[in-house]
Symmetry: C2
Subunit: 413 residues, 2 copies
C-alpha cells in the first residue's frame, strides 16, 4: 500500500481536498492530509494534520501564526509542512505528495515540494499550471496539472482532480526503479558556443565507461548542476562552461548565484574547470542593455540574447575568484585554460561584433583580456593542490577535448 500526503488550505478548498482524499482511498492509497491554512484552525473537513501541528514543528503556536502577515505565516506553514513530510520520508512512511491550490496555495505547496528529494513523486494541481511556472517548478521534478477552472468541484474539474489522484498513486507505485547497470555519472556544463568541446568530451568519456549529462551553462541550468551535485547524484563534474560567474561579476542576466563551483568542491568529487564562454556577459534584447555599457561591444546571439565582451579587468577578477573557489576543493581538481580562446565567439576569425548603437565594431577575439584571466588565476591559485594547464589551443579544438578527458581520467583514478 502506498502512502500519499495531501496538501492544501482546508479552509478554502475543503470540499475539493475531501474529494481527492476519497479518490486516493478508492485507488488503494493511505492518505495523510496536511492543512496549510493560515487563518482558521477549525473547519468542516478536518485534516489529519492541522496548521497548529505545522506551526508547532517550527516552535510556534497557531495563535502566533495567524497573527503574522500573510507572507510570513505562509513561510512558517511551508517550513512546518516540509519538516513533517521530511520526517515521514526519512521513516520510509511516504511514497508521494499531491496538492491542490490557486496562486498562493500553489506557491506554498510548491515551496514544500521543491524541498523534497529528486525522484520523489510530487503533483501540483492548479490554475497557474498554464502560465510561467519558472518559480514554482524551479530545478525540480515537479508535475503540474492544469485545473483549467478555479479549484472548485464541478463536472469539468472532477475528472481532472480524479485523474490527478490516479497520477500520484501511479507514480508512487512505479518506484523505486531497478538500478540497472548505472555507470558513473559525470555532469558537463555547455552553451552552444562551447558545444564542440563538450560533445567530443562526452563521446570520449562515454567510451571510457562514464555517462555524461549536459546542463545548460546559464541561470537555472547551472543552478540545477550545483543542486544535483550537492545532493550526490553526480560522481564528477566537467565544468567547462563557467560563464555564469562573469555575469555575477559584471551584472549580466544569467548568473546562478554566488554558490557556483562550490558543490563539487565541498563534496570533494573530481572537478575539472575551464573558462568556457567566460568572455561573454549575457543580456536580453539590445534595448535592455544598461547605458553604463555604452563603450562596449556586443554580439547579437539570438532575438532574446545579446552577449557583451568582458574587459581585461573583469577577466582578471574572474580568474582570481575562480582560483579562490578551487583552492577550497576537498577533492582532486584541475583548471584548464585554452590560450587561443574560450568560446566560438572569441576565436580568431570569430563573428563581427557591434557597438552600443548597433554599428559593426570589431570582434570578441582579444587574447590580452584572456591572458588577464590567466594572470588573475596565477595570482591566487594554490598550484600545489590544484593542477593548472594552459594548452595553446582553442576550447573547441578537438585536441583540447582530448587533453581535458585525459586530465579528468587522471583525477578520477
Amino acid at each position: 500500500m502506498v502512502t500519499i500526503a495531501l496538501l492544501g488550505t482546508h479552509d478554502t478548498k475543503g470540499a475539493e481536498l475531501h474529494f481527492v482524499r476519497e479518490k486516493l482511498i478508492q485507488f488503494g492509497a493511505k492518505v495523510r492530509a496536511v492543512d496549510m491554512s493560515t487563518l482558521r484552525e477549525e473547519k468542516k473537513y478536518s485534516p489529519d494534520h492541522p496548521p497548529s501541528r505545522l506551526a508547532g514543528l517550527t516552535g510556534r503556536s497557531f495563535e502566533e501564526l495567524s497573527a503574522l502577515p500573510k507572507a510570513e505565516a505562509s513561510e512558517v506553514i511551508v517550513e512546518g509542512a516540509l519538516k513533517l513530510l521530511q520526517g515521514w520520508l526519512d521513516g520510509g512512511e511516504l511514497n508521494g505528495a499531491i496538492a491542490l491550490g490557486g496562486g498562493s496555495g500553489a506557491a506554498m505547496a510548491c515551496a514544500v515540494f521543491r524541498g523534497l528529494p529528486l525522484g520523489f513523486p510530487k503533483v501540483m494541481v492548479s490554475t497557474i499550471a498554464s502560465g510561467d511556472v519558472t518559480h514554482y517548478v524551479g530545478t525540480r521534478d515537479l508535475t503540474m496539472v492544469h485545473s483549467v477552472l478555479d479549484i472548485t468541484l464541478n463536472r469539468i474539474t472532477r475528472p481532472i482532480f480524479a485523474a490527478a489522484a490516479g497520477a500520484i498513486c501511479g507514480m508512487a507505485r512505479a518506484l523505486p526503479v531497478e538500478k540497472g547497470a548505472d555507470k558513473p555519472l559525470v555532469a558537463a556544463s555547455m552553451y552552444g558556443i562551447t558545444q564542440p568541446c563538450v560533445f567530443s568530451l562526452k563521446e570520449i568519456l562515454e567510451n571510457e565507461g562514464f555517462e555524461v549529462v549536459i546542463f545548460s551553462a546559464g541561470g537555472n541550468g547551472a543552478r540545477a548542476l550545483e543542486e544535483l551535485t550537492a545532493e550526490e547524484h553526480i560522481d564528477g563534474v566537467l565544468d567547462i562552461t563557467t560563464t555564469t560567474m562573469i555575469d555575477e561579476i559584471v551584472g549580466g542576466i544569467r548568473g546562478a548565484g554566488p554558490g557556483r563551483l562550490e558543490a563539487a568542491c565541498s563534496r570533494g568529487i573530481p572537478l575539472l574547470v575551464a573558462p568556457g564562454a567566460c568572455e561573454c556577459v549575457n543580456f536580453g534584447p539590445p534595448e535592455t542593455i544598461p547605458e553604463k555599457f555604452i563603450d562596449r561591444i556586443f554580439i547579437r546571439h539570438t532575438a532574446t540574447t545579446t552577449l557583451m565582451r568582458a574587459t581585461a579587468t573583469e577577466m582578471r577578477e574572474l580568474g582570481a575568484k575562480m582560483a579562490e573557489k578551487l583552492n577550497r576543493a576537498r577533492g582532486p581538481a584541475a583548471l584548464l585554460v585554452p590560450l587561443r580562446g574560450f568560446s566560438r565567439y572569441d576565436e580568431a576569425g570569430g563573428p563581427r561584433a557591434m557597438d552600443f548603437a548597433g554599428n559593426p565594431a570589431g570582434t570578441f577575439h582579444d587574447p590580452e583580456s584572456d591572458m588577464a584571466f590567466l594572470e588573475g588565476v596565477k595570482s591566487t591559485l594554490n598550484q600545489e593542490r590544484v593542477r593548472l594547464m594552459e594548452p595553446d589551443l582553442h576550447i573547441n579544438d578537438e585536441a583540447f577535448s582530448k587533453i581535458v578527458a585525459e586530465v579528468f581520467l587522471s583525477l578520477v583514478k
Copy 2:
C-alpha cells in the same frame, strides 16, 4: 486493461521511448507507439505507427513529408497524429496519451494534446516544463512533468520517466468519474473590478440549483470560456465581463480573438451579456503603452497591468459589434446595460486616473461614452429577438445582480 498512446520522435529519443514503453507494459497497459520523426523512417526502436502512416492520414507520402521545411513537416505530423488518436478515441480504444520530448518535440506533442478532449489524460515529459508553458498548455488539462535533465536515460531521469509512465496509467484507470448529482453548469466571466456583480449572481443562482464556474475575463480565460462552451460542457453563459472585445477593437493586450461571444450564440444555449469592464483597454506596465495613446488617461491596476479609458467612438463601435453577434444567437439571449457604469473604475467617485506622463488626470467616470456604447447597440440590435434592458444602476450594485439573475432564469425556462 487501459490503452496508452506513446508519442515522440523515435529517431532521436528511441531508447527513452522504449524505456517508457516497457514501463507502461509492466504497469499493465497496452501501448500504441506513434513516431513523430520528420527526418528518418527507419530506426532501431521501431514504433507501431511510423511517420509514413501519419503522413498518409493527411494524404501525403513520407518522401513528401521529409522534403518539407521542418516547421511544415511538423504541422503534417501533428495533423496526422491527431487524426490517428482521435480515431482510436472515437472507437473507444484509447484511455490516455504520454509524450517525451525536448523543445520541438514538446511543441508537436502538445499541439496534438490540445486537440484532444478535456478530461482525457495527457502527460508531457519535457525540459520545457519549468519555464513559461503558456503556449504549450493553452486552455487544456495538460499534465507537464519536468524532466530536470535533457531527455536521455540515466539514474536521475529513469525514476522520473518511470513515474510519468505510472502517472498516465493511474490517470487512465481513475476515469471515468461517476457523474454524481451534476447541476446545470453556468459559466460567468469576471475581472476583479466586476467581482461584486459576479459573486452575488453566483450566490443567487446556486440557491436556484445551478452551479456557477467563473472564468477570468481576459485572454486565455475568455478563450477557455469559448472553448468549453463550444464543446458542450456549459449549459448557460453569464458573459458579464466582455472586456476582451474592446481590446480587440482598440489594440489592447488581453484580447481573446474575434470569436468572442460566438460559442454560446451558435450553440443556442441561454446567454446573458453585459459590458463589464468594457471601458478598460488592457496594457502592460506604463512604459509598454504605444505612443499613439499619448492623449488618453490610464489607471495603474497592478505592477503589470495598466488600463486605458476607451473613447465614445470606440464604445459606440463596440456596442454595434456586440449587437451584431447577439443578432446571430440561435437561442434565448439578452443584453443588460447598467447605465451607471461598467466596472469599479468608471463609477462616480472611482479612483484617480493619470495621463500618459503619469500625472494625476481625472477619473474613468464618463457617462457620455457609456451612452455611446448604448447608441451603438441600439443602432444594430434586433430587439425582436434579443432582449435589451437598461437598468439605472451600476454593474456592481446588488440590485443589478438581482435583475441579471431574474432575466437569466427567464431565459432558461
